[in-house]
């Protein structure tokens, strides 16, 4: 799977309250509505700046804080194709795989706001087209790759009737 888009850059420790604030997420299960408020407290213009396929790029510990699955769902519905960070908090990491949002773990120091990226998930390489650099991606654990390839955990359960990692 190849992903292509431009970069919206954030710092370390982006928590799930910043991704989607509690003052919005309790109101509705309409993720298209929640998507309009993604990253609002860090950048009120974020939603309107995204072009389909763009990337959220951040430092370490992306997605720390609460267990809200509205975070990855709102990111998906904001037309972001993947989140790229140095490291992810673990509940957020699981939630992304379960809901089908690709996560890319790699060194993001050489990626800046507005850079154009192409990601080859199969080959595990991120091409920074603006800088002409290639960055290696940390591969996903096999269990997570299986769930992601099945289309998320709901689809995995529909297919196998439970967990099946054989």
């Amino acid at each position: 799977m190849d992903l292509h888009g431009k970069v919206h850059k954030f710092a370390n420790d982006v928590n799930t309250d910043y991704i989607i604030s509690g003052r919005h997420k309790f109101k509705t299960l309409d993720m298209k509505e929640l998507a309009k408020h993604v990253m609002e407290d860090l950048d009120p213009e974020f939603y309107s700046k995204v072009t389909k396929g763009d990337f959220i790029v951040a430092g370490s510990n992306f997605g720390c804080g609460s267990s809200r699955e509205q975070a990855p769902l709102a990111i998906i519905n904001a037309n972001v194709s993947a989140v790229i960070a140095k490291s992810f908090a673990r509940i957020f990491y699981r939630n992304c795989i379960n809901t089908g949002l690709p996560l890319i773990e790699c060194n993001t120091d050489g990626i800046d706001e507005g850079d154009e990226l192409e990601v080859d998930l199969g080959a595990g390489i991120l091409h920074n087209l603006s800088k002409g650099t290639d960055i290696a991606i940390t591969p996903l654990p096999a269990v997570m790759l299986k769930i992601l390839n099945d289309g998320g955990l709901v689809e995995h359960f529909k297919k196998y009737g439970g967990f099946n990692f054989d």
Binding site: G22, G65, A89, I91, L153
Partner: protein, 418 residues
């Protein structure tokens, strides 16, 4: 070969010899959802074409985050939970019953040695009573509801050896804030925290729950303690379930071990906007405070309420400051009434609100105004957390909050401690 608490519990529950970094599918003893996460879980449960939960007695749903409902949209989500709970005959806690993380131990649902998931990040709280409990999202919760199982990566363990005893006026909250400040917000990511030592042994179960509650704020998957006689007595007083406490082996392998002497620790405060932005209270003393909050899953238990009431008794809070108090459960609210603590709070000028999450998650019950400073006993101070991204949240112990609202500025509580 020897094992940590996490490795032992996951070995027992998966029927495999589970070692750090292994992947296991394990049987769950209890599964919980709250009103911010259950709606999506019920949706996923239905999409998985499931008909019944694996065992209604081992499932609970709790309305605590926006309770009572402030909006029609929230009411619709609450109704969806009530309908699901009726149909599935699961344990259900409605508005006013309390915070999920108080209810699960207090109502005897979780006991030492258990493996528990909850769709709330502070599910790590029950580690204080020797439970491997961890927060998950809604789809993982749905998988647990359907199958009674979940997959886990067996965590490595970060052991915190806490020597000495906390001085007067310094509490479990100060200790855990200090540890988070020291190791930072991702210092224990993907790991289990194990807390051991004289300092832990000296603490009540209420205080230990405060420490385990905040393990997630250093990125940890769970915050485990061994069960001593105090734990066993407390659990027996709250639960009829049989249990077998789990101890770490003496030569278990740890990813990291850090030792601390807590006997000189001062009251700590986490400054805006991250939980690891921690300093001694003296560094921020004098900063004006417009609102104080005592409660939440971190610090709304009897010991917390008694400490705060001890400072507020017979006094009035500052005229330019508000105080919101939310006991962690209905039982604790009743106990606090019997002990006269609620009277102390109300007479001091506090607004006592429904047992539950209170204003912590920014949905209701005390959203701060633009530019206001709040001091809270909660576990998160992220920008916008309490519903207004232009306000500032400081975190401290119930004593620090009580002392601060008396003067209307951040105050070292030790002047009130005899």
């Amino acid at each position: 070969m020897s094992k940590t608490i996490a490795e032992k519990i996951l070995s027992t529950k998966s029927g495999q010899d589970a070692r750090a970094n292994d992947i296991v599918v394990a049987d769950l003893d209890f599964v919980m959802g709250q009103d911010g996460t259950s709606g999506l879980a019920i949706q996923a449960f239905e999409e998985m074409q499931a008909k019944q939960v694996f065992d209604p007695a081992r499932v609970a749903m709790v309305i605590d985050h926006s309770s009572p409902s402030p909006l029609a949209g929230v009411s619709a989500l609450h109704r969806q939970m009530r309908v699901f709970a009726d149909e599935q005959k699961i344990n259900f806690y409605d508005i006013g019953d309390g915070v999920c993380h108080q209810l699960l131990p207090e109502q005897g649902h979780v006991v030492p040695g258990d493996l528990v998931i909850g769709a709330d990040s502070h599910t790590c709280t029950y580690g204080a009573i020797n439970v491997f409990s961890t927060g998950v999202g809604s789809t993982d919760l749905a998988a647990g509801l359907v199958s009674g199982k979940l997959w886990f990566k067996v965590p490595e363990t970060f052991k915190f050896v806490l020597n000495g005893r906390l001085p007067a006026g310094v509490y479990a909250k100060d200790l855990i804030l200090y540890l988070i400040g020291d190791v930072t917000a991702d210092g224990a990511t993907y790991m289990a925290a194990e807390y051991v030592g004289e300092a832990i042994a000296a603490l009540s179960i209420d205080a230990r729950l405060t420490i385990s509650n905040m393990a997630i704020e250093m990125g940890a998957k769970c915050g485990l303690m061994e069960a001593d006689q105090k734990t066993i007595d407390w659990v027996r007083a709250h639960s009829k379930k049989d249990f077998t406490p789990v101890k770490a082996d003496l030569d278990a392998v740890y990813a990291r071990i850090k030792e601390y002497d807590v006997s000189k620790l001062e009251p700590q405060v986490a400054k805006p906007h991250t939980v690891d932005n921690v300093c001694p209270v003296g560094e921020v003393a004098g900063i004006p405070i417009q609102q104080g909050v005592i409660g939440t899953c971190t610090n709304g238990r009897m010991e917390d309420l008694r400490i705060a009431a001890g400072i507020l008794k017979g006094k009035k809070i500052d005229r330019h400051t508000r105080l919101i108090v939310a006991p962690s459960s209905r039982q604790l609210m009743l106990q606090a009434m019997r002990e006269g603590l609620i009277e102390v709070f109300v007479e001091a000028g506090a607004a006592v609100v429904t047992p539950g999450c209170g204003p912590c998650v920014g949905t209701h019950n005390g959203v701060p105004s633009d530019g206001e400073n709040v001091i809270s006993t909660a576990n998160r101070n992220f920008k916008g957390r309490m519903g207004n991204p232009t306000s500032f949240i400081y975190l401290g112990s119930p004593a620090t909050v009580a002392a601060s609202v008396l003067y209307g500025k951040i105050t070292d509580p030790r002047e009130f401690i005899k």
